[in-house]
């Protein structure tokens, strides 16, 4: 077996800074409104703490609002869990395990709510709506965990190879521009119908 090699040659040239060809778009970029995985994880951390405090401090009001009939001890225990997860998310450098912990917590919440959907519960409509809300939050948690995983993977990847010296032409692109226009004449079937030409020229 011959040795595997990467033909990167001497491609150590760095692209010139401030080159117009890679300048970020002012109108096209969506970076202004995009939420980063870190921001999303922190947001979910604060959400966890807020929900946890509500469950811990006002378990009866929370039960009323969500349509569950369990005792205050269970809700308070869930509140402690939410606060712990929230603190974990706000303090960690790697939010992935905490986000997956939130997903597991969501599963517990859904299982708990599901046991309360029976006909004996007068507020089961409330309970069903709560389950829908938890499902939505679960989707967000899974998305955030996956985004954090992808970001960690990208950060761990080696820096991209620099092929900025691979011109492939004898001179610079600007110097080569139009040097093969003579070739166009030989393929009439590749040319735009003459009726369309004036438009395409201007």
């Amino acid at each position: 077996m011959s040795e595997l090699k990467n033909d990167t040659g001497s491609n150590t040239t760095h692209p010139p800074e401030g080159d117009a060809t890679t300048a970020p778009s002012e109108t096209g970029s969506s970076a202004g409104w995009r939420i980063t995985p870190e921001q999303l994880a922190k947001g979910l951390g604060w959400f966890s703490i807020a929900l946890g405090v509500a469950e811990l401090v006002a378990p009866r009001a929370t039960a009323e609002a969500t349509g569950v009939r369990y005792g205050k001890n269970l809700l308070q225990a869930y509140g402690v869990r939410e606060i712990a997860t929230g603190i974990g998310l706000l303090t960690t450098r790697d939010p992935q395990p905490w986000l997956w912990a939130r997903v597991a917590g969501d599963a517990m919440d859904l299982a708990t709510l599901a046991t309360d959907l029976g006909s004996g519960n007068e507020k089961r409509r409330h309970t069903a709506l709560s389950m829908l809300a938890v499902l939505g939050v679960t989707a967000l948690d899974v998305y955030a965990a996956d985004a954090a995983r992808r970001e960690a993977k990208a950060a761990a990847a080696p820096p991209p190879r620099d092929y900025s010296d691979r011109v492939g032409m004898a001179l610079s692109p600007d110097q080569m521009r139009g040097t093969a226009r003579d070739a166009m004449a030989v393929s009439a079937d590749m040319q735009v119908p003459s009726a369309l030409r004036p438009y395409t020229l201007h």
């Binding site: 033909d7 492939g168 093969a180 369309l196 438009y199």
Partner: protein
């Protein structure tokens, strides 16, 4: 002999297979000296193209030395160094006489199969499904070249394999894609996909005189190489393709759009990418046409869509209303390789172009199976793999 053989989805093996023999007086046997993995080989690797059988020899980008020539072949002689175009053509049928070599009416022995899928037959291709003839491919130590008195390109002494290997496919493919755009001096040419074909399309568009060329991809290495070739780059994971193209064309859209991606396009935004993946997963759609949709939407009215990217079957939700009302011209097809090889070989000899710029990895044929994965996953900055026997 040894060869890379298809054994199923994501299963390429380095196998021992029978040596090829002269089967027709016009045949030649080539000892492969260099071959490459093409992006369209990945469609077979990923199981998106129908018509493959276990044990089929892969590969349609190859060159080598003539080892044996059939008695009816007056063009080649033993010892000639040749690049073999991926399209097999007879040189005599009506389409070949018109220069439409990739739709040769003679060289596909499985015409019935092709006619069922495509309506009419197209040319036989090396190593590219039984729909196109089931010919053994060039990722092998030896290759039988049918109709070898027509397509093979004799290479003058003094040129390295790396300079001329891509005359067999990706250089003419990128060139034809740009030629099909009928580039005018004021044109903006947008190229989706900065893989090997996209890289050649970029350089071809520059040499044919486009005012600006824009490359759209998400792989930093590809964008780096595209920029080296003169393209303005758009990373579609970081910014809106539509908004940036509008910005670069004063709101009007590019006059010419090239799809150098084909059936396995990726989309990070919008619902159509998810929609295509779901439909593909349940076999309600064979190809993912995100790039086609985007090109139709952004192309300037009366512009041209040039499609060298390979599609295999059926696509969904193509905005025909936009295509029709904007009066767009669509040009596509496998490459008529021999139409361009004389001119492009001369440009290589003259030193205008060195196609070897695109090679990022060289390995042995035996390492082919792992290089398929490296190439597909774009690991290690991989853009183009050349294999040696």
């Amino acid at each position: 002999m040894k060869a890379l053989c298809w054994h199923g989805k994501k299963d390429i093996r380095y196998d021992t297979v029978p040596d090829p023999k002269i089967e027709h007086p016009r045949d030649a046997i080539i000892r492969m000296t260099s071959c490459a993995i093409c992006g369209s080989d990945l469609h077979l690797f990923d199981g998106f193209m129908p018509g493959m059988l276990k044990g089929d020899v892969m590969g349609h980008e190859f060159m080598g030395e003539v080892m044996e020539v059939g008695p009816g072949n007056k063009k080649l002689k033993v010892g000639d160094k040749v690049v073999v175009p991926f399209t097999i053509c007879c040189g005599e049928c009506e389409q070949c006489r018109r220069g439409n070599f990739s739709v040769c009416e003679t060289t596909n022995p499985n015409k019935d199969m092709a006619e069922k899928l495509f309506g009419q037959t197209t040319a036989g291709l090396f190593g590219y499904t039984h729909l196109t003839g089931g010919y053994a491919g060039g990722q092998a130590e030896f290759v039988r070249v049918p109709f070898a008195d027509v397509a093979p390109v004799k290479i003058p002494a003094g040129l390295a394999d790396e300079q001329v290997l891509f005359l067999g496919d990706i250089f003419p493919t990128g060139w034809q894609a740009a030629m099909a755009c009928d580039i005018q001096p004021d044109d903006t040419v947008a190229v989706w996909g900065a893989g090997p074909v996209g890289q050649f399309a970029i350089r071809s568009a520059v040499m044919l005189g486009a005012k600006q060329v824009v490359a759209i991809d998400r792989v930093p290495e590809r964008l780096s190489m595209a920029k080296a070739g003169g393209a303005i780059t758009i990373n579609f994971e970081e910014e809106s393709v539509l908004a940036r193209l509008k910005q670069l064309t004063k709101g009007k859209g590019p006059e010419k759009c090239i799809d150098a991606v084909g059936m396995e396009s990726h989309a990070t935004r919008g619902l159509d990418g998810l929609y295509d993946r779901a439909k593909q997963a349940v076999m309600l759609e064979t190809d993912r046409p995100h790039v086609l949709r985007e090109m139709i939407y952004v192309c300037r009215p009366a512009g041209i869509l040039s499609i060298p990217g390979v599609y295999g079957g059926y696509v969904d939700k193509i905005p025909m209303g936009a295509l029709m009302n904007k009066g767009l011209t669509v040009r596509t097809g496998q490459t008529h390789v021999n139409r361009w090889t004389d001119d492009l070989l001369q440009r290589i000899v003259d030193g205008q172009v060195d196609p070897g710029f695109v090679i990022t990895h060289t390995a042995s044929l035996e390492q082919g199976p792992e290089m398929y994965k490296t190439f597909r996953d774009k690991h290690d900055g991989c853009i183009k793999v050349v294999l040696k026997p």
